[in-house]
Symmetry: C2
Subunit: 439 residues, 2 copies
């Protein structure tokens, strides 16, 4: 019997987290490991999930099942902050945030007025995500409409759930990268109408950061958010101390950096703020009260020398958080390498980031940060079937280490410490295999 | 014409640093890039090095030359601090130094009383070094004689210049890992007689660290150093604040942690101290005055949350320094990944680690830290022919990034930020190819 093209059945070892939690100690209890399981996907969604044994009662005869006997299957990773136009500039030397933007980023982004160039990089970028097991991302484009169209068009071909938006920037940037309060508003509105909710695409209103938008532009962004309350807001916050001082000098009427966004109506349950390395106490409270989320980007925070993000505080203050690679200030597309450095950033602060907690942030917790935990993040019935087939020992060193692992937590931790794109055996999006290694 | 087995000729693009420097600004001037060069090795040493054009005058007709037209050939990387018995325990979760030793390290090291096990891991370990382009390392074994024999035997088969020694440890460790002041002395002496200077092997007197040796044992170690002044001393220093407090309580007569080693005659031009994250000013002065060297181990210092090593101070105080992976507290055998994190550790302190400086530390500077810059670290005539053939774009992402690189410094920096073992196309030791990728 041939399966219908909309049907995918996968047998293997599965690991996910069943429920969101408000306390990291509760994560282990929510971890579900099925040593020999079956996932049945229909039309991109999870139709049935359980043990292989239980599946025998419901499996039609002769239906074809793809078996991964050795690998570990987990929900697709979620990247809560990344810039696709910066794909080509990972590893730009020697600067902290503000000079790094002027020296490297702005010249790179100027190329994206050319739709052909944007197409090429968008395609490359999405392939890199999939190669690294990332199935959903919240993405910065550039100020150019073309850059947004390119990304959504290619994501649509893959059926990927991508959230993205056109950068709003009307000052302190090169002319070719600036819009105006009015054109930024009009273009964003047109893109929302064109893309938001089309297939799996979702739109994010995307002011770069407070210093590159006039109060007028931020006001128009807030107006847009009022007109389309279910679109996202995606921006940067409190990454670098010079940046914070600059914001305070530009917006003397606001009580702090976050208050600029809050004042213009840009906080909320679909608002994601990248970095938040140096938040003040009242800003933590505002994040909590508005149900805004943080993207924690360890490789970027280290690469630009921004500082150490206090992850424990997200639990203490009950603020949603996900992991971000922040390419191109981040140094890897891999969520495994991102977790490696997240662990180190926490160790420097005397905070232990456990493997289950890291796994939570990369999957269900990340989905929650993106207000998508009703659709993504684990293998609950009805959720969208985005998942990754992990090879736990693609290298001799990982094989040696895994041979000594005593628990699923230990296996995960070794994976997070040593893993990279070689650990991704296959990536499935909306029930279809969209990437697999050659072997 | 067939080459003699002791003759190797390599054509390609070469990069090295010609002289040691006392100021990081001078490194770029010392960088030598030969776009089309020839290296002629005889009996393990560099017999001739220059441009391919100049080589025409001296090349015998019909001699066979291995050509690497696309790659970059650099001196073999030098790892100034690594524990081979910890190869299997990279990524051991959740502890800082002292509890990490008790929970993970000591149980792992107990296995090395078995020569067969030590053989297996030594072989694996040396292969991992070569796979990562590391041709010389300063290596901790365990307390067991067998562990030292295993490492030197396998290194001899590869003709590798390895410096290693038996751990001295007579307190605060499990019984099976302890010697005594007297047996530690006698066994070390026997190993020095057996191995030091045999082929390329060099011996290091290796007290684990001050807390696990009694004053009697440190005195015997000092006696050994006096009897064999040209052997090395290899130990740990000032890695973690609890460790430092412990040393101060154990050795109240000494003025500080380094003074313990200094008091027992263990500082000097062949002494290498791993970590030195929290040195006090008078300790910096003592390091300088005794010409002792530091092994900077960024992935380890982050993984154990030890702290941020102040690299700029090594220039200011004129203290020799090399890079160490510190496997198994470090998280990668790769000097490229080590440099990636070294850069980040410096960024957090507002210090820019340039690509040329990083390259210096990984090659000639590392050789100098090991008092081997007369034998290793660049392509000077008469030096030992240890070198690495680098592939600058083994992945699509690196290829994209390198296509935008504007200078050799930029190419190196991109390599250091994104590189891993996949960038090592081949490794040559003493003129012979001992590792190459399959492709």
């Amino acid at each position: 019997m041939l399966n219908s093209p909309s049907t995918t059945l996968i047998r293997g070892k599965f690991l996910d987290i069943q429920q969101t939690v408000s306390n990291p100690e509760d994560i282990t209890q929510q971890m579900r490991y099925v040593d020999d399981g079956l996932m049945w996907c229909e039309n991109g969604k999870i139709h049935w999930f359980g043990t292989w044994q239980d599946a025998q009662a419901i499996l039609p005869k002769g239906i074809s099942v793809r078996h991964y006997p050795e690998q570990l299957i987990v929900p697709g990773f979620i990247d809560t902050h990344i810039h696709y136009p910066q794909t080509e500039m990972v590893g730009a030397y020697g600067e902290q945030l503000l000079s790094w933007l002027n020296t490297y980023t702005f010249p790179t982004e100027l190329q994206f007025q050319d739709k052909g160039y944007a197409d090429k990089i968008a395609q490359f970028f999405l392939h890199e995500l999939l190669k690294n097991g990332t199935t959903t991302a919240l993405v910065f484009c550039t100020v150019h409409l073309e850059s947004v169209d390119a990304l959504f068009e290619h994501a649509a071909q893959l059926n990927m759930r991508v959230i993205a938006g056109k950068v709003l920037m009307d000052r302190h940037a090169p002319e070719g990268l600036c819009d105006t309060a009015e054109t930024g508003y009009q273009q964003s509105k047109a893109l929302i109408e064109k893309w938001h909710g089309k297939g799996r695409a979702l739109y994010a209103i995307t002011p770069r950061f407070a210093p590159t938008s006039t109060p007028e532009q931020l006001a128009k962004a807030g107006q847009l958010k009022q007109e389309y309350p279910d679109v996202y807001v995606h921006t940067h916050l409190s990454e670098n101390k010079d940046e914070i001082a600059w914001v305070k000098s530009l917006f003397p009427e606001q009580t702090g950096y976050l208050d600029v966004y809050h004042h213009f109506g840009l906080t909320g349950e679909r608002s994601v703020f990248a970095h938040c390395v140096h938040l003040e106490d009242e800003e933590w409270n505002c994040m909590h009260d508005t149900q805004s989320a943080i993207a924690f980007c360890p490789t970027s925070n280290l690469f630009l020398g921004s500082g150490l993000f206090p992850l424990a505080k997200t639990w203490e203050k009950q603020v949603k958080v996900g992991l971000g690679t922040d390419i191109g200030a981040g140094t890897s597309f891999s969520q495994l390498q991102t977790i490696n450095e997240a662990y180190k950033v926490q160790q420097l602060q005397g905070n232990k980031l456990s493997a289950p907690e890291a796994f939570y942030h990369a999957t269900l917790g990340g989905a929650r940060a993106l207000h998508l935990d009703d659709k993504l993040g684990n293998f609950s019935l009805g959720k969208e079937a985005d998942f990754v087939v992990l090879d736990l020992h693609p290298t001799a060193l990982q094989q040696l280490r895994q041979s000594h692992a005593k628990s699923i937590e230990d296996r995960l931790f070794a994976l997070f410490t040593m893993g990279d794109d070689r650990n991704i055996a296959a990536t499935y999006v909306y029930g279809q295999c969209v990437y697999q290694t050659e072997g």
